[in-house]
Symmetry: C2
Subunit: 240 residues, 2 copies
């Protein structure tokens, strides 16, 4: 998509809400790092992919009402216990499981993320809108130096994305209309759900979200308001 | 209270949760500033005291269930509309009322607050636990440079302090036991409610919370774990 679509003539949004896993931080590379540091006898990349693959089905059980409200920390732990069996690591002690599960609190940002956010923050209110729980996001932000104005989570709204309550919840927190909020994400389905609520949408390419050997389709969708190669490019397009 | 009560031998808490209005920021001086800047024909100090005086009764209506969940922004506005009549300013236009109501988003920190928080943050997870709403607290933090690890509010828990759900909600967010959380506040009733939940308590003197002419009783209560003259003193006592 061009850098000057018609929607750019619309007033700028006031609030940028960022998806986090994959958009701000590199979950794949970070889980590979954590697994490698422990010298677990598994392929770290396959382990990371398997752990992440359990994420949507687990959230779907909460979204459908099959499970009551359950934090991502607890969903990550349920998935971990499951994949440890599949990877032949079911003798891992409890303390090690607890520590490994906290790997999701220690995800590293993409190289452009901190500087990009710092620039965007000069002109916009920047917040998270993540399915990750508040404690996880706070630990991650402190470790990585992510300069959020506010950490928001599905945990606040008791609804996981893509439920509309999550996107509209951000608007309610800041007392703005949907068109004053723009979701920034590396996932087209997340952006489509935000647009369906009347919010604006900025796609960010994270070609290697699933690792260096599985490049993702990062084709533009003309329905989005912006398409950026990274946060520095987004900042430039938004005049920061 | 002495600086070395028996409880100091207990393990340090992990999370410091801060009351905000009066403890971190000077609501009295800031509302006086906002009213004075507008040259309203009222005594700015009396106006500030009257506005704040409506706060507890308004929250009590929410806590009792008489009012459904209502943000502080909306409670502040209800009180403002009420006191404008009492102060003979009921001809104030809607746009001016909206802007004046946002004065609570622009409260100034006490002089020691930013530096004290910066020090405390090196050793503890620091968060707010305020009855102020998230948008208010985020605007305040950005304007004043308050370096929170996480902004938490009664709005997240849908319970105003001193309901136990607020204090225990902080513990749940960080997945810690009550004794790992310490409330820092300039109000003994807030601290007493936290202690009743098993949390720890640090009192901070804010002698001039109600203005220079109405000094507050800042006597120590031996039931608290710490008693500090300001945040720098608290940081020193906590080894930061």
């Amino acid at each position: 998509m061009s850098e000057s679509p018609p929607t750019h003539a619309a007033p700028m949004p006031k609030v940028l809400a960022f998806d986090v896993f994959g958009t701000v931080v590199d979950w794949y590379g970070s889980i590979v790092r954590e697994v490698s540091e422990r010298r677990l006898p598994v392929d770290p990349g396959q382990f990371a992919i398997a752990w992440r693959a359990g994420y949507r089905p687990a959230m779907a059980r909460v979204r459908s009402g099959e499970l009551g409200w359950t934090k991502i920390d607890d969903l990550h732990r349920m998935i971990l216990d499951d994949i440890l069996v599949k990877f032949g690591l079911d003798d891992m002690p409890e303390a090690d499981r607890r520590d490994l599960n906290l790997a999701w609190h220690r995800l590293d940002p993409w190289p452009d993320a901190v500087e990009g956010l710092r620039r965007l923050r000069t002109k916009f209110t920047i917040c998270t809108l993540s399915n990750g729980n508040l404690g996880l996001l706070a630990d991650m932000a402190k470790r990585a130096g992510l300069p959020w104005d506010l950490i928001l989570s599905a945990e606040v709204f008791r609804h996981y994305k893509p439920d509309p309550e999550a996107y509209l919840g951000v608007c309610d927190v800041f007392d703005v209309g949907p068109s004053d909020m723009m979701l920034v994400a590396a996932h087209q389905d997340d952006l489509a759900a935000a647009r369906a609520c009347g919010c604006r949408a900025a796609y960010v390419e994270r070609r290697h979200e699933f690792g260096p050997t599985l490049p993702k389709d990062v084709s533009p969708d003309p329905a989005n308001d912006f398409h950026a190669t990274d946060f520095l490019d987004l900042a430039r397009q938004l005049g920061c």
